[in-house]
């Protein structure tokens, strides 16, 4: 039995069905031979015995019919009524001739029968001769009584003889047919027995095979279906015994066992995974909600940023224009600074000349100061003289007053002298005040020239320094001009860049709008995911691992 179990399913089926097919083939062969025998006997029965009986019956019927027609014609007297009857009788006579010939033909192998048929034929020919040669002309002649004479006389005996032979032959044929039938029945009974035996044997073998197949295949399959039912109900804790069958059922149970084990493992992993998934989905939901709000804030921020960038762009435009203007101005400044350098060199030379002239002025003023000192001494002397003259005039007046009436003219002179002295005194006072002013002025001028000299020295120094400074300044301005040109170019590029930035910010703004929508969708998706995780958790809880 072990080898059968280890046979593959195909092999098993081939073995079982091969057995059954062989049995069927035996049954069919026996049935075929039996049926062929029966068919043969029946054929013979039909072709010989049955045909003979039929022909004899037909012969008898035609004969009787003809005789009736003849008799009817003899009874009738009118010629118009007799002709159709006679024609029919002639027709029947021809048929009887044909049937007789066929009967003779069939009875060639049977001598007994042939002799009887020859006899029948001779009688019939005699009858037909009498009928055609004597009766019909009598009838046609209207001699009905004579014709009746013939009919009742000679023809009567011939008719009985024909009937007797025909009956005899018919009985013989019936007997032959009965014998054939009995033989066929016997053969059929024999075949039935064979069929019954072979059928019972085949059914018995089929039942045995079916039972064994059922035991070998259905048993393990039922067990497997029971376990599958448990698994379907969510119980993965079942343990299956190891089976070492090599056929498909064995393979099926092995794979089923592995399937259950892997399913158990997978379900365990899935449960853990779903727990992780559930918590992750919750976190994702929270995170996505935050991201959605963040994206909304980002959207507003980017909107503001876009506005700012637009403003910055305008500012950059203004800066670019200004930078261009500054660049041009710096070029001009560079030229101006070159001019300024030359001017400063001229200024230094001019300052040197001024210093020389200032020294000359200082000497002149010092001389002037000394001379005004001398003038002051002279004025003091003149003033003293005027004072003395004044006193003399007063004394002269006094003397004139003492002289009384005679001194009157002298008093006038004294008065004039005094007034002259007074005038010269005033004049000297004026000169003195002027001289004082001059002296002050010269003092101031001396100081001023000294300061001027110092200032000129300082000016020379400063103008030299200024020249140096302006030279450095010119260099700086040249560098500045270059830098300003570069700045102008840079700001132009910056402007272009700002344009691009503005466009990019516009794109970012649109993208952010889409992002906001996207994050909202993501939030909804995360919520769905979260719910899905919860559902999956409930679903997995059903499985026992």
């Amino acid at each position: 039995m072990k080898w059968f179990l280890n046979l593959t399913m195909r092999g098993k089926l081939f073995v079982c069905f091969g057995l059954i097919f062989a049995l069927f083939a035996g049954v069919i062969a026996t049935a075929y031979t039996g049926i062929a025998t029966i068919l043969e006997s029946q054929n013979r029965l039909y072709k010989e015995d049955f045909a003979n009986v039929r022909d004899l019956m037909a012969l008898r019927a035609n004969y009787n019919g003809m005789r009736v027609l003849m008799l009817e014609a003899q009874l009738l007297s009118k010629r118009t009524e007799q002709d159709p009857l006679l024609a029919q009788a002639a027709e029947r006579s021809k048929q009887i001739d044909g049937i007789t010939l066929s009967l003779l033909e069939r009875a060639k192998n049977d001598p007994n029968r042939l002799s009887r048929l020859e006899e029948l034929k001779s009688v019939w020919q005699a009858f037909a001769q009498t009928k055609d040669a004597e009766i019909i002309p009598l009838i046609l002649a209207g001699n009905l009584a004579a014709s009746r004479q013939f009919a009742v006389g000679v023809q009567q005996g011939r008719a009985q003889k024909i009937r007797a032979i025909a009956e005899e032959l018919g009985k013989a044929s019936e007997e032959g047919a009965r014998l054939g039938l009995a033989h066929a029945e016997q053969r059929a009974n024999q075949l039935f027995g064979i069929f019954l035996f072979v059928g019972i044997v085949a059914v018995a073998i089929g039942i045995v095979l079916a039972l064994s197949m059922a035991r070998v295949i259905a048993g393990p399959l039922r067990e497997l279906s029971r376990i599958a039912d448990l698994v379907a109900a969510g119980d993965l804790t079942v343990n299956m015994a190891r089976d070492h069958r090599a056929d498909e059922v064995g393979v099926l149970s092995q794979t089923f066992r592995r399937m259950v084990e892997s399913l158990r493992e997978v379900t365990g992993n899935i449960r853990e995974g779903i727990n992780v998934l559930g918590s992750s989905a919750s976190e994702i939901l929270a995170a996505t909600t935050q991201v959605a709000s963040g994206a909304a804030e980002t959207g507003t921020a980017i909107s503001q940023t876009t506005t700012t960038v637009e403003e910055v762009k305008q500012t950059a435009q203004v800066s670019s224009q200004k930078a261009k203007y500054v660049s041009e101005t710096a070029q001009k400044s560079a030229q101006v600074s070159q001019t300024g350098k030359k001017s400063v060199n001229d200024t230094v030379e001019g300052m040197n000349r001024i210093r020389e002239q200032m020294e000359a002025i200082a000497e002149s003023i010092v001389r002037l100061s000394e001379q005004s000192q001398t003038v002051g001494e002279i004025i003091a002397t003149v003033n003293d003289l005027a004072d003395q003259s004044n006193l003399l005039a007063v004394n002269a007046s006094i003397e004139a007053a003492k002289a009384g009436e005679h001194g009157k003219g002298f008093a006038v002179v004294a008065q004039e002298v005094r007034s002259l002295a007074e005038q010269s005194k005033q004049a000297t006072a004026q000169v003195r005040s002027i001289l004082t002013d001059i002296q002050k002025a010269t003092g101031t001028a001396v100081l001023a020239t000294e300061q001027g000299t110092k200032a000129v020295d300082a000016g020379v120094k400063q103008s030299t320094e200024a020249g140096e400074s302006i030279r450095i300044l010119a260099e700086s301005i040249g560098e500045s001009a270059q830098a300003a040109t570069q700045i102008a170019a840079s700001s132009q590029q910056q402007l272009v860049g700002m344009d691009q930035v503005a466009a990019a910010m516009e794109s970012i703004k649109q993208a952010t709008t889409q992002n906001v929508a996207g994050t909202k969708q993501a939030e909804a998706a995360a919520r769905n995911l979260h719910e899905l995780g919860q559902k999956l958790k409930q679903l997995v809880e059903r499985y026992k691992v």
């Binding site: 007046s397 006094i398 007053a401």
Partner: protein, 176 residues
């Protein structure tokens, strides 16, 4: 610049002004001729009959052991003359002495001394009719030496009383 014609006209106007007869100030009444001089900020006058001469204050020699109003002595062409400072009498502010100070030497038949003056203003004729008596508020030595005040606010000094006043004569002996 004054043109030549302008100069000529100005000179002619001056000559005409000088040639004009002085208007009769006070033909009626007695007139005296006074020497007008300045002391501090006030103007004083002394009758010219008492004035000998005016002399610049030079080489003043202070004299010890005399009253404060005696400044010192000076040499006038060989003659020694004492100098008196009237500011001390009249409580006038001191201005300090310079070469510009003058000495008015007054005299009568018995006495002769100099009076310090800050400046000599000149001779002037004053009608006695217009001289108003000295203010009653002035008392003491001032009232004693003043003859009156002219409308031109010239204080007229009484030189005769000054010369004859015994109080200004220095009579002091220094005990050795």
């Amino acid at each position: 610049m004054p043109t030549a014609e302008n100069k000529k006209r100005t000179l002619k106007e001056r000559a005409r002004a000088l040639a004009r007869e002085p208007k009769g100030e006070a033909p009626a009444g007695e007139e005296i001729e006074v020497l007008e001089f300045q002391l501090a900020y006030e103007r004083y006058g002394i009758e010219s009959s008492y004035v000998r001469e005016v002399y610049p204050l030079k080489e003043l020699t202070p004299v010890p052991c005399v009253a404060p109003f005696v400044l010192g002595i000076i040499n006038v062409r060989g003659q020694i003359v004492s100098v008196i400072d009237l500011k001390k009498f009249f409580d006038l502010p001191e201005k300090g002495l310079t070469d510009l100070n003058k000495v008015v030497i007054i005299h009568n038949h018995a006495m002769e001394f100099g009076i310090l003056a800050d400046a000599i203003l000149g001779m002037r004729r004053i009608a006695l009719r217009n001289v108003q008596p000295s203010l009653p508020t002035l008392t003491g030595i001032r009232e004693q030496y003043l003859r009156g005040v002219t409308p031109e606010r010239v204080v007229l000094l009484d030189a005769g009383k000054l010369l004859t006043d015994e109080s200004i004569v220095v009579r002091e002996e220094v005990e050795s």
